[in-house]
């Protein structure tokens, strides 16, 4: 991996934790599954399991091709609410979500289908919304949040109510979270999550 590539990965996935920064996010393709509500984590966990299971053959090929340059892709989540007040209050049970894992450019439908078929034998039918699709964000504000996800709300509010207006920016897309740690293996107060918000100049 070149230094420039390393720096780019850092810019996209390891933003500063002590202040909001702007980043230009390239269009990427993701394997994704949609859902609604998060009272019970089971559908979320099931979606994440399916994404990684379906991408197993792609990962095998990526490891062979890229060798030491291969980096595991984190789980990412988009969250949006029909009523903005639910979003502002962090009422996850009233929000829609999309769980996503980034895929390589060379991922063909055949390689993806191979993974889905192998996973189906173990996990049953896939969630209906499972698909691979491009997602574009462009200019984004982001910050590294360290702590339990339930305590993100004040940071998200600060981004929307202070950082964006102060910089002449308007939210322009869905709230995006990148989960850098597995919640089952890392203590809540140490969990790292990138909080990202697509924006446009006012």
């Amino acid at each position: 991996m070149t230094d420039a590539e390393k720096a780019r990965l850092k810019e996209l996935y390891l933003p500063l934790a002590d202040k909001f920064t702007l980043v230009d996010v390239p269009d990427m393709r993701f394997a994704m599954i949609d859902g609604r509500g998060a009272v019970d984590r089971a559908p979320l966990d099931h979606a994440v399991k399916w994404l990684y299971a379906a991408l197993q053959p792609a990962k095998r090929i990526a490891k062979d091709r890229m060798g030491r340059d291969f980096v595991e892709a984190p789980v990412e989540g988009l969250w949006w609410a029909d009523d903005m007040r639910d979003f502002a209050a962090g009422n996850r049970e009233k929000m829609n979500w999309r769980m996503m894992v980034v895929t390589p450019d060379w991922l063909t439908p055949e390689i993806f289908d191979e993974g889905v078929t192998a996973a189906r034998a173990r996990l049953g039918d896939p969630p209906e919304s499972l698909r691979v699709e491009a997602y574009a964000e462009g200019l984004c504000a982001q910050i590294m949040f360290i702590g339990p996800n339930a305590e993100e709300v004040p940071t998200i509010r600060r981004m929307h109510e202070e950082f964006l207006p102060a910089n002449g920016l308007i939210a322009n897309g869905w709230h995006h979270e990148i989960y850098l740690n597995d919640a089952r293996r890392v203590a809540p107060d140490k969990r790292k999550t990138v909080l990202r918000q697509p924006v446009r100049r006012a």
């Binding site: 399991k49 994404l51 990684y52 299971a53 595991e72 293996r185 890392v186 203590a187």
Partner: protein, 185 residues
């Protein structure tokens, strides 16, 4: 300090990830399929926790108002000594090569007592058993997703060993099948 047993090291590692209840430990071991890698019985979890506590490697905190002895509801966390012991022994586990004896070696030691057909059949059966184990591991790897990279590497380790053994079985089978068998009846 004395080397910890596999079960002790495993539980110490889980408690070091984050403070956990006794009952949580059992379900985490189950969910992660840790009995795949090491031997730990259901009943021995609290015995092992008790031992780690006596060694001063973990702390057990009773929830307020809980009856004494309610082990399942105690919250376990590591001490500084516990984290130090965990790091030292984990490094040793990575570093030190231990000899493991496969049953196939005992089979080869006494190979000369076998008939050709019996020996070839047994080697073929071993080849099939290896294939079945490879498929079983691949299935578990799908069911356990998502996995951190270091656990993916554990699966790669096991699959690599099985691949090497499968090659050996195929080569040995081919050789034994073609060489003149001295005591052929």
């Amino acid at each position: 300090m004395k080397a910890l047993t596999d079960a002790e090291l495993l539980l110490l590692g889980l408690v070091a990830e984050m403070p956990r209840h006794g009952y949580e430990l059992d379900s985490v071991i189950e969910q992660r399929g840790m009995r795949e890698w090491t031997q730990i019985g259901f009943s021995s979890i609290y015995f092992v926790l008790g031992k780690l506590e006596k060694l001063g490697l973990i702390l057990a905190k009773k929830p307020a108002g809980a009856k004494a002895g309610a082990k399942a509801r105690k919250v376990y966390s590591t001490t500084a000594a516990g984290r130090k012991a965990l790091a030292a022994q984990t490094l040793a586990a990575l570093r030190d090569l231990q000899r493991a004896y496969s049953s196939v070696l005992l089979g080869m030691i006494n190979f000369a007592v076998l008939t050709r057909d019996g020996a070839l059949e047994a080697l073929s059966a071993r080849g099939e058993a290896i294939k079945a184990e490879q498929a079983r591991l691949a299935a578990i790897q799908i069911e356990r997703q998502p996995l951190p990279d270091y656990v993916e590497a554990m699966f790669e380790f096991s699959q690599g060993q099985l691949r090497a053994e499968a090659e050996w079985v195929a080569r040995t089978h081919a050789y034994m099948a073609t060489k003149p068998w001295l005591d052929e009846e």
